[in-house]
Structures are given as C-alpha cells and as structure tokens.
C-alpha cells in the first residue's frame, strides 16, 4: 500500500462508498431476494452500468438537507407568528392550496412508500440508493407541506378533513388513481411513470409556474416549501432521465416496453396536469403565466428537445402529444366549467372570474375563449346574480382510466364532446379520450377494478345514495362547498380586510 494517501475525486469516492456494498447472494437465490424486478420483461445485463445522478453520499445528504430544513422552518415559523395569511392576494387563491393539500400531498406520501419499494426491490445497488434518496425526499415533501398547510387549516376550510376526502372524494380519485396505477405496476414501470414521465417531462409545469405564482400571490409558505422541494425534484428528474437511458442501453428488447410506458404515462400525467393548469389559470388571482404559455415553454420547447435527444435510442415522442398541444387552448376552461358546476360536492369553492380576469383569458386564449367559454361564464354569472347559482344535480360520469369527468372534446372539434366506450366482460366502460381508451384496452383486467366514485355512490356504498348522504360521509359541511362569494372563507377574508383598512385609517 502506498504511504501517501491517493487523491480520490467525487466520482471515485462515490463509487467506493456505494458500489460494491451489495453482493450476489448464494444462500438464497437472487430471484427470491429480489422477486419483483423481472416480471415486466425488462432485461438488465449489467447493473453496474447504471449511472448515478448527483452522487450524494449520506453525510452530504444530511448536511444539505438539514440546511434546507432549517431555512424552511424558520420561514414557516415566522409566517405563522405574523399571520402572514393576511398577505395573500385574495382568499380565492386558497383553493389552489386546498387542492394541493387534498390531492398532491397524499401523492408525496405514496411516492415515499413507492420509492421505498424500489429502494428495496431493484437488485442493483446504484439504482437502489438513488431510489432511497428519492423515497426519503418524498417523505420530506409530504411533511413540510402538511406543516406549511397546518397554519392555513386553522383559518380556512377545505383542509381539516383531508385524510377522509383524500380517499373518498370523487374528484380526488383523479390524482389518487393516477399514483395507485403507478405503484401497483412493476418497479420499472413505476420509475418510468414517476421519475421520467412525471418528474422529468411534466413536473416543471406544476412547480415552476405554479410556485412562482404562489410567490406572486403572497403565499410565502407555499413558495418556500415548493422551491425547497423542487431542489430535491431536480435530483429526481435526473434520476428519471438516467433510468430511461439505462433501460434502453441494456437491451434492445426493452425499447417497445419503454415506449409503451412513455405513451401511457405521458397521457396519464397530462390528464392529471389539466387540474394543475386549472389551478394556475383560475385560482391565482395574480397571474404569472397561462397554461397555454407554460405548455409551450415546458412541453413544446423543453419536452421536444428532450425527445430529440432521446431519438438516438429509437424513442419517439409519446403518442397523442399532438392532441395535448391542440387542447392547450381549451383544457383549463373545460375543467373549470366542470368544477364550477360540481363544486357543491367538493371541499372547494368556485366562482366566475372577474371581468378583468376574463379579459386576461381573452388575451391569452384568443378567439376560442371569446366564442365558447366567455359567453358561458357570462351566462352563469347572470344566473347567479338572479339568485340561481348553477349547480348540477347529479355527480358527473367519469372516465374509467383518468377518472376525470367526461367533459373533454374531440381533438379537432372543441364543441363536440368525446366519449369512447369499451365493453369488457359484459360491462361497458367509458373513457374520455383515445389516449385513455388505449390504456384501458391494453390492461382491461387492471382498469375494470378501478373504484369509480359516482357508481359507488349510486350503489349506496358511500353513506347513502344521495348527494347529501355522500357529503356527510365525506365530513363536508354545506358552508365548506360551492360558491365562493358569500362563503365562510369569503366572509372571513372580507372581515380581515375591513379590519385592516379600519386599523390603517385609525392609525393615520
């Protein structure tokens, strides 16, 4: 051995710290120790070819993450002490945060568990360690989000019963079924679905414009955990890109499997993001960027650059991405119109945008908005003014795959509703799009298991067969739902504003 210590660079050091810790088991067979990483048909010849993104060792992880956590909790503490909820742009904004708590935070928790499964399940040490870091990061995200929302929960409705509605509410089946679909798939599909299709391709659409929007709307709590979480996400995105390259470099037989997953998970993720786009467009009183513009920057530019890069492996852009691009002018408006009519069966409030906001939509979305959606909103506003706020009497029919109400329109005709039907084992299943129908048809046995809330409700499995009984089962009270103007949140906000104005006048 040499007398003077050799110098090890970052890469060498990381290799020694992680690789080689594992071993080929002999007392038990490797297939028994790792029973799940072959049945999907992905062929791995050499796990050592795995390229580790970011190469964090445990001590560096503790150091960096502790520094982030110290900063984050200092801000959350001061936010609560100073009642900084008074600084948000408008209480309507809180509904975006409610959707986050109800629909996104539970996914962070599920991702923690899902990546723990991968962190145990892959037989390559490099892949496992990368998944373990992601697992504990996702745990961080659900916890920091709950700690941030804890303060909002003290004042605003829509947070308190999250653990009940997370599983039971019809509209939260959209994010929930998305993630459960991924976790119930095999490990390679899970990592493709979440690390690549969601984190790498689509997550920028969620975090960048929306969190920046939270900052613009004075919500420093969400901004802080959002950007802090995003610094972890960028590690996850890199993992996503590496895993795709790894699978494709390992064996040519992997290409068709990976391509099919990309097709499926692009569409599944895109459908889910329609909800986020709607939050961005409608629930941020101060606008940063429209969904259309975000789609152009993060999909049409960045997404296509990525798929150009990947074309050397024989991958093509995901199926139906052109449809998604055609829908960029309408998806958020169709979504909002739907939530507007059904919000009395949610723990959210909805409203008709102000005239100023409608003008912004007209500028961002052009003719289609002015001819189709604006007149509809103006009509509903008129009804509301006359004391006839418009709500649907029954719950919507939802897509058997994405679980979104079937409101989407034909790719080339925004006035014609799209509803596709597949019959499987004597039962008809409805889908919102060709993208979702392809997914169903490929794995009918899986999707016919889906828990479809409206069907369950009308079968009386959710506290009773009426909307009222259902809401009781969800622990949602009348004053926590429906129209924003005149709601408890709205009245409280107006009181705060009046007090603040009165105080300001009195001090002057």
């Amino acid at each position: 051995m040499a007398d003077k210590p050799r110098r090890l660079n970052l890469n060498q050091k990381y290799q020694l710290m992680t690789r080689g810790l594992d071993w080929e088991t002999t007392y038990q067979s490797m297939d028994d120790v790792f029973p799940y990483d072959k049945y999907e048909g992905i062929k791995i010849k050499d796990w050592d070819k795995w390229q580790d993104p970011f190469r964090l060792t445990m001590d560096a992880y503790w150091k960096y993450q502790a520094e982030k956590e110290r900063k984050l909790y200092a801000i959350l503490d001061s936010f609560a002490q100073n009642n900084s909820q008074l600084n948000i742009s408008d209480a309507r904004y809180m509904n975006a945060v409610k959707i986050w708590m109800q629909g996104v935070t539970p996914l962070e928790y599920a991702a923690f568990r899902g990546y723990a499964m991968l962190g145990r399940g892959f037989r390559g040490a490099g892949a496992r360690v990368a998944c373990q870091f992601q697992s504990i990061d996702e745990m961080r995200h659900y916890q920091t989000q709950m700690h941030a929302f804890s303060h909002y929960n003290k004042f605003f409705n829509g947070f308190r019963q999250y653990s009940r509605i997370r599983d039971r509410a019809w509209y939260l089946s959209i994010p929930k079924s998305y993630f459960e679909d991924a976790v119930t798939a095999g490990p390679f599909e899970l990592i493709t679905a979440i690390s690549f299709s969601f984190e790498y391709v689509l997550t920028n659409l969620l975090f960048m414009p929306f969190v920046s929007g939270a900052a613009y709307n004075g919500d420093m709590a969400t901004t802080t955990f959002g950007f802090s979480a995003q610094s972890d996400e960028s590690r996850h995105m890199t993992l996503g890109l590496e895993v795709i390259k790894f699978m494709l470099e390992q064996h040519e037989d992997n290409l068709p499997i990976v391509q099919r997953w990309l097709d499926k998970w692009f569409w599944r993720g895109y459908r889910l993001l329609g909800l986020v786009g709607t939050m961005m467009d409608y629930m941020l009183p101060k606008k940063v960027m429209s969904w259309r513009q975000a789609w152009e920057i993060y999909w049409e530019e960045s997404g296509m650059a990525l798929f150009n890069d990947l074309s050397r492996y024989g991958l093509r852009p995901p199926k139906y991405h052109e449809v998604a691009t055609k829908e960029k002018y309408r998806i958020t408006h169709e979504f909002w119109s739907t939530i507007y009519q059904f919000s009395h069966a949610t723990a959210l409030y909805t409203w008709i945008p102000t005239n100023e906001e409608l003008d912004w939509f007209s500028a961002e979305y052009g003719e289609l908005f002015d001819t189709v959606y604006r007149p509809r909103y103006e009509y509903w506003a008129e009804l509301h003014k006359n004391g006839e706020r418009f709500f649907q009497k029954r719950l919507p029919v939802v897509c058997n795959v994405c679980q979104i109400p079937i409101f989407h329109t034909m790719p080339d005709d925004p006035l014609m509703n799209c509803c596709l039907v597949t019959e499987y084992k004597g039962t008809k299943h409805q889908m919102c799009s060709q993208g979702c129908k392809d997914i169903f048809d490929h794995e009918p046995e899986k999707y016919c298991q889906a828990y479809i809330p409206p069907q369950q409700i009308y079968q009386g499995n959710c506290g009773g067969a009426t909307l009222e009984a259902y809401k009781e089962w969800l622990h949602i009270k009348e004053e926590e739902t429906g129209e924003y103007y005149g709601s408890e949140d709205h009245r409280m906000w107006e009181e705060w504003k009046a007090q603040a104005a009165g105080t300001a006048v009195a001090s002057a």
Partner: protein
C-alpha cells in the same frame, strides 16, 4: 387615537386537522411530530391490486401477523420527522467530520499497532456489507410496513445504515491510504471466509422474510443487539485499551446511533407486545426462533476477536439483550 395593528381580530377556527384532533382529543395542540404521523397512510379505497402482490392491497395490515387496533400507536420516542431527523444527523456528521479530519491529517489510524490494524481490517471493514444488509431490511419495512410512524422510522433507520456502511468504507480507506484494494479484499472475505458465512447466511435468510414486524425484531433487535455491542463496544474497548483511542474518534457515531436507535426499537416492540397476549406470544416465539441463529452468526467473529474470552464476552452481550427483552415484556 391609534389602534395597534396587533388588535386586528384573527381568530383561528380550529387547532389542527380533524383526524389528529380525533386521536389526541379535541382542542389539544399537536406537536409537529404528531401532526404528520397520524392517519397519513391511507387505509381504504384502493383502486387496483398490486400486480406484484395481488393477494394484498398496496398498504395492507395483513403483511404482518402482529395485530394492532391502530398501527399509528407504534410511534418513535425520538419524535423524528424528516426535519428533526436530518438536523440531528447533520450535527453528528459535522462533529464526526472534524474527527475524521484530525485522524486523517495526523495519520492517527495508520500509526496503530499492526495487530489492532489487522483486527479492524478483518472485522470492521467487511462489516460494511452487514450494514448494507440492515439497510435492505429496513427499506423493506419502510416499503411494506403498515401505519404512518413505523415505515417512516424504518426509513430513517435504513438511511442510517447506509451512512454507517459509508463511514466504515472511509475507515477502510484511511487504513489503506485510499487504496480501494482493502474494500475488494474485505468483500472477498465477506463472500468466502468461513468466519463470515454464518452471518452472511443469516442476513440472506432475513432478506426473504415476508413479515415486516418479524424482520424488525430480527434485524433491529436481535442482529443489532448482538453485533453492534460486539463490534462497537467490546472490540472498540479492546482497541482503545491497547493504544487505539483514535479508532474511537471515527466510530463515535456508531455508538451514539446505536444507543438512540435502541430506544426506537424497544419502544415499538414494547408497544406491540403490550397490545395483546397474542402479540406478546408471537414476538416471544420469533425471538426464540431467531436468537440462537443470531448468536451462532456472531460467534466466529467473537472468537476471532477475543479468542478464549469470547464465550464470556458473548454472555455479557446476551445478558444485556435478555434484560431488554424483559423490559419489552417478552416471556
């Protein structure tokens, strides 16, 4: 007249989330630990059966034979949520980093007596693989365990073990002046040296266990309860007494970590045993099944380190574990 802005009436409508209030009692203000440890794991309405385990739901109480009214009772007495966990570990790693730096700069470990160096090289360095095995097992609990607090604490425990394995790697590299050959050699011994085979077999057998609570008892109570005292109390004491104080500087974390992790392990086992006579009987049965095998796995290491004193050392360690068993409530 001037009204202070503070007089603005900002009345909270509630203290915490409904499910937290239901568990703690109305009006009680939860700690940050409690607020994220109650009811976060979903228990109802699953859309699809796992394709990798169609017999179970994604999260399923039936993945262990232990029964609990509420698995959220299996709390961590250290009250670690992510923030408190990483902040505590970062303080420890900062202190340890200083120790490592002193030891490296002054060549304190490379100056050890050859006999001591050999024992560290033969015992501590290959043990990085056992720590990796402990990482594997705790990740299993994090993945397939049930309830909110238990998978979380197991995940911390798993990451701690990766940290342990990496710190051991650094000790090895210090001893070899950064020559990676020392790690290859240690791995070859782990794979083939007769002394290591009972432990390697024990770990590989644990990798195929399906009951996560049984695995918790086996890994975190029995294996750790025998091996960590053997290596990081008794062997370390031996090294320190023979002029190897520097060794204690770089293993400080293992000792602190073990003391702390033991609190979690004992508390969760005690809670489960206290829940019902059936749980207690089951835990006792598992302990009786595995303890002799764990002792067998550790015996060749003890013999290598302590030669004719090994039986005495092993008895001291086993007695301590017995005392812990009694406090936990096992028969």
């Amino acid at each position: 007249m001037s009204i202070d802005i503070k007089t603005t009436k900002i009345e909270p409508r509630r203290v915490t989330f409904d499910n937290v209030a239901e568990k703690l009692g109305e009006g009680k203000i939860p700690s940050r630990y409690q607020e994220v440890m109650i009811g976060v794991q979903q228990e109802e309405v699953f859309h699809y059966r796992p394709t990798w385990d169609p017999e179970h739901e994604i999260f399923d109480a039936d993945r262990t034979a232990i029964n609990m009214q509420d698995f959220d009772d299996l709390v961590d007495p250290r009250q670690y949520y992510y923030g408190t966990y990483v902040i505590q570990r970062s303080k420890q790693q900062e202190a340890l980093e200083k120790n490592f730096s002193v030891v490296e700069k002054r060549g304190l470990l490379t100056a050890l007596d050859a006999g001591l160096t050999e024992r560290i090289t033969k015992i501590i360095v290959p043990f990085r693989h056992a720590e990796w095995g402990a990482n594997t097992n705790n990740l299993f609990i994090a993945a397939y365990g049930f309830g909110t607090p238990m998978p979380i604490a197991a995940d911390f425990q798993g990451m701690d073990r990766l940290g342990n394995a990496q710190y051991i790697t650094r000790i090895g590299l210090i001893l070899s002046n950064n020559d990676p050959e020392i790690l290859d050699q240690a791995k070859a011994e782990w794979l083939d040296e007769p002394m290591w085979q009972p432990l390697r077999k024990m770990l590989e057998d644990s990798f195929v266990l399906k009951d996560w609570f049984e695995l918790h008892l086996l890994q975190n109570f029995l294996l750790d309860g025998i091996l960590h005292p053997l290596l990081f109390q008794h062997l370390e004491g031996e090294v320190v007494n023979n002029g190897g104080a520097a060794f204690a500087m770089v293993t400080e974390f293992f000792v602190d970590w073990y003391g702390e992790a033991t609190r979690w392990t004992d508390h969760t086992l005690k809670t489960a045993a206290g829940e019902s006579a059936e749980n207690k009987a089951l835990l006792t049965e598992w302990r009786d099944k595995w303890l002799p095998e764990v002792k067998n796995a550790a015996a060749p290491l003890a013999e290598y380190i302590f030669a004719d004193r090994s039986a005495e050392v092993m008895k001291q360690i086993a007695d301590k574990l017995d005392t812990r068993s009694g406090k936990i409530g096992l028969e």
